[in-house]
């Protein structure tokens, strides 16, 4: 299964460190290169010599420079940082410098351990019996089918309502003008003239209106009868009298 590893853990050739003249493009950044160098120390990462690692990194970068390889900025930044770390580790310790060089070295070591752990885990993952590569699911599954059966949600009321609406929609529409019950002026003149006759006592106009429960017709009869009386008064056939504004209107034959 090792042949199938997506990458080879032993990237670095075994041998002398100063023969490391691989291109920087082989590494994914300074941390990756540092890890490769650290693994070359062939000790548990927890016991790695950070000082030795720093030396190796710096000399590798120097060699790379000598080979006139283009060196990416982040490799140089790491080189500068490591050079600083190296001097801190070697020089007599200045108290109260935070963080201490030992702390920086420890943090670097922890980072390398973590990257290494994930790199190894990835390799172990890739080496497992993988579905579609080492183990296989059924080549031609029959497949399971879900047959959807609609359960229609419709009631008799829905049906009746729909039919009612169609019928209402499709029925021819007749527009019928409502005939209103009115008393015409001619009718009123004829009626008032007949009722007044030779009435000599003053009588209220209300007495001349027909008996009706239809308020609309009553209103029409009142208006027409009033106009009829005005006309008959003009003809000199009856007299009208009203004591004051809004007092009852009184009628008698002339």
């Amino acid at each position: 299964m090792d042949a199938d590893l997506a990458f080879d853990l032993q990237t670095l050739p075994a041998g002398d460190d100063d023969q490391l003249t691989l291109e920087l493009g082989s590494w994914e950044g300074p941390l990756d290169l540092l890890l490769a160098l650290a693994r070359n120390q062939k000790v548990d990462l927890r016991e790695i010599s950070i000082l030795a690692l720093v030396e190796q990194y710096l000399s590798f970068i120097d060699n790379a420079k000598a080979l006139k390889l283009e060196i990416a900025a982040d490799y140089l930044v790491m080189a500068a940082w490591l050079a600083y770390l190296k001097s801190c580790l070697l020089l007599p310790r200045e108290p109260h410098v935070e963080p201490s060089p030992e702390e920086l070295a420890l943090r670097l070591q922890l980072r390398l351990e973590r990257l290494n752990a994930m790199r190894e885990s990835g390799a172990r993952l890739m080496a497992r019996d993988r579905l579609g590569r080492d183990v296989f699911a059924r080549g031609a599954p029959d497949g399971l089918r879900v047959v959807r059966k609609a359960n229609w949600d419709v009631s008799l009321f829905d049906l009746m309502q729909a039919y009612g609406q169609i019928k209402a929609r499709s029925q021819p529409v007749f527009h019928i003008v409502h005939r209103r019950h009115v008393m015409t002026l001619d009718e009123a003149i004829e009626r008032v003239a007949r009722l007044v006759g030779s009435l000599v006592s003053w009588t209220e106009i209300r007495a001349f209106l027909p008996e009706t429960d239809d308020p609309v017709f009553r209103k029409s009869a009142l208006a027409s009868s009033f106009l009829a009386m005005l006309e008959l008064a003009r003809q000199g056939r009856l007299e009208l009298d009203q004591a004051e504004a809004f007092a009852p209107l009184m009628v008698r034959a002339a």
């Binding site: 296989f136 699911a137 059924r138 080549g139 031609a140 029959d142 399971l144 089918r145 879900v146 047959v147 959807r148 059966k149 609609a150 359960n151 229609w152 949600d153 419709v154 009631s155 008799l156 829905d158 049906l159 009746m160 309502q161 729909a162 039919y163 009612g164 609406q165 169609i166 019928k167 209402a168 929609r169 499709s170 029925q171 529409v173 007749f174 527009h175 019928i176 409502h178 209220e204 106009i205 209300r206 308020p215 609309v216 209103k219 009142l222 809004f246 009852p248 209107l249």
Partner: protein
Amino acid sequence: MNDPAEDFARAVEATLFAAAEPMSPAEIAAYAGPEGDVKAALANLQADYAARGVNLVERGGKWHFQTAPDLAHILRREREDSRKLSRAAVETLAIIAYHEPVSRAEIESVRGVQISKGTLDVLMEAGWVRPAGRRETPGRPLTFATTPAFLAHFGLESRRDLPGIEDLKAAGLLDPVDLAFDALQDAADAELADEVEEEAPFSPSDG
């Protein structure tokens, strides 16, 4: 597992399982290796699987696994989805129920709108509508009618139980426009009468 014949049978089994197509013994041997007896392995596997939910079968010289025929029914599952019938479908169903047997053109003339093919399909799929023969008129149009399942779903003993036009009218389900207009008119007149009474210069109470 240390028995070579058994190991070979396992290889044949895995090969057929993973295969996308039925395989002939020669094709199987290309995977499982030349050292075993493919036919013997197939015969043994067939016997092993005979009583299982999966069987090994031969069809035209090629072998494949398939689910046991008696279990075919469980591999399809019915699911009931509660769904609303479209308005067009409800109206079409109502027209068929009231007018059956009725042709598509007649349904459209009652609805005043064309119906799509899908509408009748839905009703037939629901089991409520069936083709009811052709009408002996020009063009011999197909007619449609309701089914006993339709009566059962809507709780009707027979089509005579469908409420008639007069029943619909009484229930206010048939609301023609002029009826509504009359109702409005009456309301307006009543209001006018009230005003007359209040403002009348010749109020009867004055008499």
